[in-house]
């Protein structure tokens, strides 16, 4: 019996069209735009100005607080300007725009493909290095990785969980990473284990990736304390709380972090980036991006420099299909609809999904028939049918009582609703408002 999480969940059509496309290295684009807000927390502060010469791997924007991250130049060339561009948020945000010239790297980066297995760094040195390298959660959440490696006082971690679930339909970047960079990934996991001082690591992989499970199991046998946990295909298994539940049977209490049950979760992409940062001294300047879609000519996985406009990736994958109705940054369940093809790839861009018409359009909204399907699929055991009208009518105190803040915004409710009601749209709004109210309450108390 395969393990999975205990409550709710859905199973959208997987459509992993690019699962068998090996990772290709995308050529360095002529211009990159690097938003300063690529992570959760304070936007980084630009260190360069117009006209500055930069090299690949050079810090161009500095972390602006504990929850923030450095940003490194993904290309070598000249800074064209520091200006506002429309990024994935749909708003104009500060960004550094660099015109590429050649491909000159900072000298102390080890660009060879030699596997460095031996771990020499101390836990503190590893965490410091991860912070310096600007590594954030590469699964899409973009939470600065070094913060998660520093448990709050009084809390200890006993298991590291590595998220290789990739429960989002269409996306295959983590899948390819596990197949092609398994050894490096495992060294990265060992580094994270050292940093956290834990003896056990579990790699959770859904069993729609049997090749990845087999490959990782074979490799992991040589790494003490690391094991692979095959999981039943069920969305949203990649959610932190769901994955901990699935792998360990521990449920993180409401409003608490995974550390409460002694677990820390990192994505496989993050673990690989940690390997590169610590063993190869290479900061986070590129990532694997799945470019896919039902009518795309050549769905692919590209190793892409941060800041590359998505139009370049789409072109490399066979060009934008005529019937494209929507472009999504990330997966179809939690990804963000993008407003144009000029938006750059950022640290959190796990995929570019092109949705053809008419799939891209939402269906007309019908009245709620109280079928209770949203309640059945909610992985957090909430009542979306109730939360939506509460948020719509701005009844924030009731929404808080109904635990709106527990929502992980997985979208299972909206996905399932036979009446196509925009449940999550309003619940997300309600979460923002209730969060605001709760913060102002603790501030005044």
């Amino acid at each position: 019996m395969l393990k999975t999480f205990s409550l709710g969940g859905v199973h959208p059509a997987e459509n992993k069209r690019s699962a068998n496309s090996p990772v290709e290295v995308l050529p360095v684009p002529p211009v990159v735009s690097i938003p300063l807000a690529q992570h959760i927390g304070a936007p980084a502060q630009a260190l360069v100005k117009k006209g500055d010469e930069v090299k690949v791997g050079q810090v161009i924007a500095q972390s602006a607080g504990f929850v923030s991250a450095n940003i490194h130049s993904p290309v070598s060339g000249k800074v064209a300007k520091v200006d506002q561009i429309v990024d994935a948020s749909g708003y104009r945000k500060d960004a550094i725009i660099i015109n590429t010239e050649g491909d000159e790297w900072v000298e102390d980066i080890d660009r060879s493909a030699i596997l460095v297995k031996e771990i020499t760094a101390s836990p503190e040195a590893i965490i410091k290095k991860i912070g310096e390298a600007g590594i954030v959660g590469l699964g899409g959440a973009t939470f600065p990785a070094h913060v998660k490696l520093s448990p709050p006082p009084g809390k200890t971690c006993d298991v590291l969980i590595i998220n290789g679930v990739e429960c989002e339909p269409y996306l295959t970047s983590d899948h390819r990473l596990m197949l092609e960079k398994g050894e490096e990934l495992l060294v990265g996991i060992r580094l994270l284990m050292t940093a956290l001082n834990v003896k056990k690591a579990i790699i959770g992989i859904e069993n729609n990736k049997p090749d990845a499970i087999a490959h990782m199991e074979k490799l992991a046998s040589e790494y003490e304390g690391v094991r692979v946990q095959p999981l039943k295909v069920q969305y949203p298994q990649g959610g932190e709380k769901q994955l901990i539940d699935a792998c360990m049977g521990r449920q993180v209490p409401s409003g608490k972090l995974p550390i409460e049950v002694g677990a820390v979760v990192h994505n496989v992409g993050t673990a690989y980036a940690v390997y590169e940062a610590v063993q190869k001294n290479k900061p986070l300047i590129e990532r694997i991006v799945t470019v896919t879609g039902l009518s795309l000519a050549r769905p692919a996985n590209f190793l892409t420099r941060i800041g590359t406009p998505i139009s370049v990736l789409i072109e490399a994958a066979g060009g934008l299909p005529d019937d494209t109705g929507k472009i999504i940054g990330g997966g179809p369940m939690m990804g963000k609809a993008l407003t144009s093809t000029e938006i750059p790839v950022t640290k959190g861009t796990s995929g570019i999904l092109l949705m053809p018409q008419p799939l891209a359009s939402r269906k007309p909204v019908d009245p709620c028939i109280r079928c209770s399907k949203c309640v059945s699929v909610c992985p957090m055991g909430l009542s979306p049918y109730l939360l939506m009208p509460l948020a719509e009518k701005a009844i924030w105190d009731r929404a808080e009582e109904e635990n709106i803040m527990d929502c992980i915004e997985c979208g299972s409710c909206s996905f399932t609703c036979p009446s196509s009601r925009p449940l999550l749209d309003y619940i997300r709004l309600g979460k923002a408002k209730v969060g605001q109210i709760m913060r102002s309450r603790t501030a005044t108390a």
Binding site: Q84, V86, S89, G90, Y91, R92, A337, T339, S340, S361, R362, E392, P422, D425, Y426, R428, L429, A432
Partner: protein, 288 residues
């Protein structure tokens, strides 16, 4: 016969017992309330709009009775007349808030502000604003989902299908501020009604640089500063590439309207200009 009698006696008895219980309960649980609250509430317009900052007229009446100084409290619906009546009842000094009306500081109609995307989320400005900047290149302008219209309790707003913008019906607007509260983009502002309802204001809140703003919307304020220079009363300030007209200082001379290169400054309820001037004027926009 006796059945009828018994019935009458029983019911009358029950009624009497209930009456006694009610009487005792009302004595025992009586809450003292300042009788002036009722009188003040009578004087208020009973619109329960919340424009005064209190949840309903009753709460406002309680607050008025309780407050030592009511000069800073105002009922936007009743305005000065109502407040002076209330002040008379309470023997306090009424404030001198000028009557206001809501204005829409965005003129990015479909024609002026080309749509670049097609929004399909929940029909709510709040949801759309949390998602992205809007269907057009302007991330400050009206999203057109009508949260303000839904918030208006006085039938003073409607969505103009043609322009995609809400319209404020001045006669109905009581300046309760519900729409101002509802708008996630802070486009709607309460401004003094002004003499003969004449008002001049910048119908734009775009803080992008001039070129960017102009590209996304034909009638955007580009922060060029021409209005600031031409204003003889220091009523106009430019901040973050955006002009703002202080309605307390504005003398309604209309010079700024003439110099604005993008027609972002609007004048309301002025008589038509002399024909000579009118030629250079663009067609009057459907404004709110």
């Amino acid at each position: 016969m006796s059945v009828v009698l018994i019935t009458i006696v029983t019911l009358a008895g029950l009624g009497a017992i209930a009456a006694v219980i009610l009487f005792l309960a009302s004595k025992k649980f009586q809450v003292f309330e300042d009788p002036r609250i009722d009188v003040v509430e009578e004087a208020l317009p009973a619109a329960n709009c919340g424009g005064c900052g209190f949840p309903g007229c009753r709460a406002f009446a309680e607050a008025l009775v309780k407050a030592d100084d009511i000069s800073s409290m105002n009922c936007p619906v009743g305005g000065a007349p109502t407040m002076s009546i209330v002040a008379g009842i309470l023997g306090k000094e009424a404030g001198s808030a000028k009557p206001q009306v809501a204005v829409l500081r965005c003129n990015g109609s479909c024609e002026h502000r080309p749509r670049l995307n097609n929004y399909q989320g929940a029909v709510s400005c709040a949801v759309a604003a949390a998602l992205y900047g809007g269907e057009t290149g302007c991330s400050y302008g009206c999203l057109g989902c009508g949260d303000c219209v839904a918030a208006c309790k006085f039938d003073a707003m409607y969505m103009d299908e043609e322009t995609g913008l809400p319209v404020i019906i001045e006669e109905n607007c009581v300046a309760c501020g519900a729409c101002v509260e509802a708008c996630p983009k802070d486009i709607i502002e309460l401004r003094n009604i002004g003499p003969k309802s004449r008002r001049i204001f910048v119908s734009c809140v775009n803080k992008d640089k001039g070129a960017v703003a102009r590209k996304s919307c034909e009638v955007a304020c580009i922060g060029c500063g021409k209005c600031e220079k031409v204003c003889a009363f220091d009523a106009i300030t430019i901040k973050d590439n955006l002009a703002y007209i202080d309605y307390e200082k504005c003398k309604l001379c209309r010079k700024c309207v003439e110099v604005c290169p993008t027609n972002a400054i609007h004048e309301l309820n002025f008589p038509p200009r002399k024909p000579k001037v009118e030629k250079t004027e663009p067609e009057k926009e459907p404004v709110a």
